[in-house]
Amino acid sequence: MTISNEKTPITVLTGYLGAGKTTLLNRILTENHGKKYAVIVNEFGEIGIDNDLVVDADEEIFEMNNGCICCTVRGDLIRILAGLMKRTRDFDGILVETTGLADPGPVAQTFFVDEDIAAKTKLDAIITVVDAKHLFLEIDRAPEAQEQIAFADIVVLNKIDTVSDDDLRTVEARIRRINPTCRIERAERCNVPIDHLLGQNAFALDRILDDDADFLQKDFDDHDGHDHEHCDHDHGKCDHDHADHDHGHLDASRHDDHVSSFSFMTRDKIDPEKFFPWIQMIGQEFGIDMLRMKGILDIKDDNRRYVAQAVHMMLEGDFQREWREGEDRYSRIVFIGRNLPRDIIEDGFMKTRVTA
């Protein structure tokens, strides 16, 4: 016999009770794709999962004993995944459904922390299902919903038939403000093509910010016309001259947001001797509130793109493909988090540029 060394892909489904997680799960399971999935459901889940291999999980959050309070993992998931990996591989992938109020952080971190899990499985994507109408009405009062969107690679914006077009655009803009890097899939009754959801490789370093080309253009172009919302706030100073910057930024921070995002760009080269200590420091200092970070960097004296990502304090990065001939070389870094100090992070990042 041969035992495959292919890592089993894991898809995490988050979202409030009633948003349509179970509908989506059943759609994935019953669609005629010829693949079999093991499903890990939470004990409070809605009933009626149409599958042979369903495992109950208890959502046990374990803190690591390494002095880092944001290093939490899902203990039950480690146990269940290890158990599933012992089976004769009678499934092609694993779907993990979390409870409505679950924080996706520990789920994602489980794949970074546990080397045995990391050796056999890979996190394919975090999919957050949201109810368009509910989100429109409730998002400002629902920090858990904001965090679930913050962690998402894909947001399934479900039940779009229950809101007007204007409201839909407002909701999408709100999602974007929390998470500018996720893909939004509009849906009624979760009717998203399955191949838009599975096999995403969203955590593979070579896919980080892959869908970013449009955003990049918008970001640089919008720079002059942008309304710089943060200047309205009491930051104490607003005297820096935006015109002097050779970088663009989309400011998404607003004080009533629990979770927000911002990104910085530059066409200057990045000095690795400054960048790596700095990003480590950011992880140490702000890891607990930094939900996700993604970056593509144009490092000095290297012809390859350096790609980095983080979930809280867990940082990983590597050099990926070479910059293409004629490709627009730039560095871009996106932070999604809870009340992150934008000014400090921006200032720090800009100081990692190579100075002539």
Partner: protein
């Protein structure tokens, strides 16, 4: 036995399912599979497949009498397979049976999530609820305690008076558990690539053994009880158990040899020999008497997840994750 001679005498087996656990029943090596079957490997080179579970066998233990195996399945069943071939259902439920262990005094314990079941063989179990899901179960050699590795420490339960429990506390997730040969110390392996030890009589006396590059999920004591062998490093790391506080405050010794991370270790009964299984698939025999060392099975890329000796120390066995196994008659120790 010289490792070179041993290597030539190893009987090799290859099964069509992943191997998940192994145990000796007499001189027969039982190999549990991810397909729910147990293969009984005999010294004549034959093997017999017995299908038991609808799913994977997650854990397996042989009893002290040596006349039965208990298999824990992800089909929610715990089964007993007698040496005579009789199969009986000990537990049927909806949740996975994650762990099973047998004591030297005729107890059997198993766990489903947070629930621990403890019974005298053949009798009805009592239920104990652990503070979190149980990662591993083991009895102390003196039979005084059943230990459960859980989140935040080790839960000890007295097999004869299950209402008597003791919680040995240490922050973090504990994933394996064992006891020193004299039963005075409890040791756990942790998610953070370290071991933790408590002196059971005075648990405020405890210590952490860190610095391992991988999880030291396998550990065992030399037959004389004077040192603990541990996996999890690219050398064999041993901790002294000679003083009154065991290894607490002491330094480890290391023995080099072999390639890559040690995945499993076992001491041979009535001997100073040690069987070492590597993450890369090799198996080595190490003799503390003269520090001789040699491979008895070559690396084939699949982790050696367990190495075992028969209770009399005559037979040695090992399993790899990919479903290969080996059996060796080493003669009397």
């Amino acid at each position: 036995m010289d490792p070179f001679d041993a290597a030539g005498a190893v009987l090799h087996y290859r099964f069509e399912a992943q191997a998940t656990a192994c145990a000796f029943i007499g001189s027969v090596l039982a190999v549990a599979g991810g397909d729910g079957a147990v293969r009984l490997c005999a010294v004549d080179g034959s093997s017999k497949k017995i299908s038991l579970h609808d799913g994977a066998i997650l854990s397996m233990a042989s009893n002290a009498k040596g006349d039965a195996l208990y298999t824990a399945g992800d089909d929610g069943n715990l089964k007993r397979l007698g040496a005579d071939g009789a199969i009986s259902d000990i537990h049927t439920g909806r949740k996975w049976v994650d762990c099973v262990s047998c004591s030297q005094r005729g107890h059997v314990a198993w766990s489903c999530g947070k629930t621990i079941y403890l019974a005298k063989e053949g009798e009805e179990p009592v239920e104990i609820t652990a503070p979190s899901s149980v990662s591993a179960l083991a009895f102390s050699p003196d039979g005084k305690w059943l230990g459960a590795a859980v989140y935040g420490g080790a839960l000890l339960i007295s097999p004869n008076k299950p209402e008597t429990t003791k919680f040995l506390e240490w922050k973090g997730s504990h994933v394996a558990i064992g006891f020193s040969t004299d039963g005075r110390f409890c040791v756990t392996a942790m998610l953070e690539n370290s071991l933790h030890i408590w002196k059971i009589a005075t648990p405020e006396k405890h210590g952490n053994m860190g610095g391992y590059p991988a999880k030291p999920v396998s550990f065992d004591w030399m037959a004389d009880g004077r040192s603990m062998l541990t996996a999890g490093a690219d050398v064999l790391v041993t901790w002294p158990f000679t003083g009154s506080d065991g290894p607490i405050g002491q330094n480890a010794a290391v023995f080099e040899g072999g390639v890559g991370i040690v995945r499993s270790v076992r001491a041979r009964p009535s001997s100073r020999q040690v069987l070492i299984g590597y993450a890369a698939g090799g198996v080595a025999l190490f003799d503390r008497k003269d520090d001789s060392y040699g491979y008895i099975a070559e690396a084939d890329g699949s982790p050696v997840i367990d190495v075992r000796f028969s209770p009399d120390g005559r037979m040695a066995g090992f399993i790899r994750e990919n479903g290969t196994a080996g059996l060796l008659d080493m003669g009397k120790p």
